[in-house]
Each structure stands twice: as structure tokens, then as C-alpha cells.
Amino acid sequence: MDAQTIIARRIALELREGMLVNLGIGIPTLVANHVPEGVRVFFQSENGLMGTGPAPEEGMQHRLLTDAGGRPVTALPGACTFDSAMSFGLIRGGHVDMTVLGALQVDAQGRLANWMIPGKMVPGMGGAMDLVTGARRVVVAMQHTAKGKPKIVTRCTLPLTSVRPVSLVVTEMAVISFADGAATLIETAPDVSVEQVLAATEAELRVPSRVTQMQL
């Protein structure tokens, strides 16, 4: 299983019946492909759609029905569309149960940086700051390291997206929870040891006596 699939499948296990979920661009989008059988969730696209469905068949795209990345999508039965004020009212108002986003860095307190690298890349924050500030649960989907350097750091050197800590970080190596404010290693991926995770992480991780393996 490749890194992206491990991350997406593990995060999909966090989905619960009836949740309203916002998926960011990149690995987060893949979570939609792994929704557990029998669990019905509504995906929100912040451009103004709830009930986002998979990509349409070739030739069935509609110019005015896209996800937040501008890609053609479908709308499932029961879907609804709305303007950006409603969309971000849902997000900031705590009506979105879970958001899944990518990250450049997450620090020891669970604070996230994902919207710019000064002097190099300035894409803008888009909806990320609102999502991290307002969604009930914030889950980060990212590779554990970038070019061999840890992305889970003691303190973010990049500009923060929000001071609100994320709930969970899922990488291809581990699941790290910030449920009680401290970075805690709760699961490792198959064939990955606790030592390997610690070696690839700059932030100090709390390691409980029992660390389980991801149930993929």
C-alpha cells in the first residue's frame, strides 16, 4: 500500500454516520474513496456544495458543478448548493463535523502551518484558516517527512494557519493525537516501529505503554 493510500484509509476510519465533512485538496481528497461500507457522510465543498459526489462519467461534466479545486464533480441525492457566506457560516459556525487538510508543518502543541512559505510559495490561505478555526474536528493528512526532514516539529517556523490545535495527524508512519494538548503517538503503520516514528519526528512525542497498529 502506498503512503497516500495508507493515510486516506486510516482517516476514513474516523468517519461516522451522518457527519458533514470537508476534504482539502491533495491527499485529503482521497479519503472519499475509502468511506467504510454502511457509513453515510456528506462531503462539503467550500465553493458551495454539500453532498458532493464522485467525478462524473466522461461527457457528463457540468461547467457549473465543481469542487473547491475547480474539478467537475457530481451531486448526490439530497445535495444542496449555497453561496460562500453560508458555506463559511457552516465552517466557522461549528456545523462541519470534521475537516481533513494537508500541512507543511505541525508543532508539538498541534498547531498547523499550511498556507505559505515566505519568499518561496504564497498561494494564500483560501478557506484553510476558517476550517481549522471552526470545524469541530481537524484532521491533518500528510507525509511524515518532506525530503527527509521531519514535518512534525517542536515549533512551526512557517506562518501558522490557526492557533487552534488540530485533533489528529495521520501520516504513512503513524497516528498522532493532540486530544489532551500534547502530541501522543497512538498508532503506527504496519511494519513501522515506534523507534522509526520517533526518529522521523522532531517534536517530542508522548508514547503510551501500548501503541496499536493501524487497522487498515
Binding site: 458551495g48 458543478l65 458555506s87 466557522r92 494564500g124
Partner: protein
């Protein structure tokens, strides 16, 4: 509401004007108005919109034409040209969190001085802004935004100017229609009064100043 041809409507927009433009990555952007702004060679415009789309798409065409002095947007990641012009000092870009941007526009259109939002507290976004504590929680005061013109992309307009939008083409459109001195609409279809049922009108006709005729 008056009807105008595309050329007449865009002629009303002077160089240096501030424009709110609907659309999200070009979806829901009144593309015909953008094309005509480029054709008429407008300059020094300030655009307030969700994003600058991509080169060759929606607001991206105004960026490529060098028509913009400034963009107030939430995202420029899909348009490298905007980033290059910003870094090269050819264009000013003010990045605003998307939810804050739409609420600042809503405030501008709804007679409010601004809004209080938790988004951006403790980040670079709070720089230079007033912070207020309400019920023990910190908020940023984000001030209202208005513009000289709103360029709205609708799906249906009736003969009076009542509007509806389709699917994800709605986004910023109904909100900007409240927040500009002059509202110009390009609709995909112009239909008889009554085709849009009262319950389905998303932008009431009195908000619309000019409806561009379809050809």
C-alpha cells in the same frame, strides 16, 4: 434596472475602478464581462474576488492583460502569474481568509461596519487589526468592504432583473450584488417574469442596475 449591450455596460467602468467579481476558480464568473474589460484595455483596476483563477480563465485574463493594480482575494495558488506579478511588485495582492472576505463583503452590503471573527487570531492575519474579547473569546475586527461595481454572473435573470444562480456558480455572486454602487449582471438566460418563482429568487431585482443583453 436597465438593459445595456455588453460594450455599453463595460464602457461605464472607468480605469482605476474597484470591482467585485463573482466566481470561484472561474466558475460563476461573468466571463463575457471579463473579456470585454480586456478588449477595452481597462487599467489600474482593483479586483475583490475569491481568487484570480488561472491564466486564460476568468479573472486570470485580467491579470495577464496587466489590467489590475490590486487584488483582494483569498487564494492565488492556481495562478502563478499573479504570484510572479506580486513578487515583482507589478501588482499588489491582499490575501484575506475566504470566510472573512465574504463576510466583509456581506457587511459592506448589509449596512454593517465590519464583523468579528475568530479566524486569523494569533496568525499574521491579525497584524494591524483591533482585537476584541467577547464572552471571554478573542475576535478580530474585520472591516466592511464595498466596491464601485459588482460584476455578477447569474444563471437566470427575468425581465425585471430578479436573479438565480446554478449549482456551484453561486459562490460570491449574490453577496457582491449587495455591496457595490453599481451592479452589472451577465446572465446565461434572460427569461419572462414569473419563470423564477418568488421562493427561488436569490437576488431581488432592485439590487440590479444593469442587465447585459444576450445576443
Amino acid at each position: 434596472m436597465r438593459t445595456l449591450t455588453l460594450e455599453e455596460a463595460v464602457t461605464k467602468i472607468p480605469d482605476g475602478a474597484s470591482l467585485m467579481i463573482g466566481g470561484f476558480m472561474g466558475v460563476g464568473t461573468p466571463e463575457r464581462i471579463v473579456d470585454e474589460l480586456v478588449r477595452q484595455g481597462k487599467r489600474e483596476l482593483t479586483v475583490i474576488a475569491n481568487d484570480t483563477a488561472a491564466p486564460g480563465v476568468g479573472i486570470g485574463k485580467l491579470v495577464s492583460a496587466g489590467a489590475l493594480r490590486k487584488a483582494i482575494v483569498s487564494h492565488i495558488g492556481t495562478n502563478l502569474e499573479t504570484q510572479q506579478r506580486m513578487i515583482g511588485g507589478k501588482m499588489e495582492v491582499e490575501l484575506v481568509p475566504q470566510g472573512t472576505l465574504i463576510e466583509r463583503i456581506r457587511a459592506g452590503g448589509f449596512g454593517l461596519g465590519g464583523i468579528l471573527t475568530p479566524t486569523g487570531v494569533g496568525t499574521v492575519v491579525e497584524t494591524g487589526k483591533q482585537k476584541l474579547t467577547v464572552n471571554g473569546k478573542e475576535f478580530l475586527l474585520e472591516i466592511a468592504l464595498r466596491a464601485d461595481f459588482a460584476l455578477v454572473g447569474a444563471f437566470l435573470a427575468d425581465y425585471l432583473g430578479n436573479l438565480t444562480y446554478a449549482l456551484t456558480g453561486r459562490n460570491f455572486n449574490p453577496v457582491i450584488a449587495t455591496a457595490a454602487d453599481t451592479v452589472i449582471v451577465a446572465a446565461e438566460h434572460i427569461v419572462p417574469v414569473g419563470v423564477i418563482a418568488p421562493d427561488h429568487v436569490m437576488t431581488p431585482a432592485p439590487l440590479v442596475d444593469y442587465l447585459i443583453t444576450n445576443t
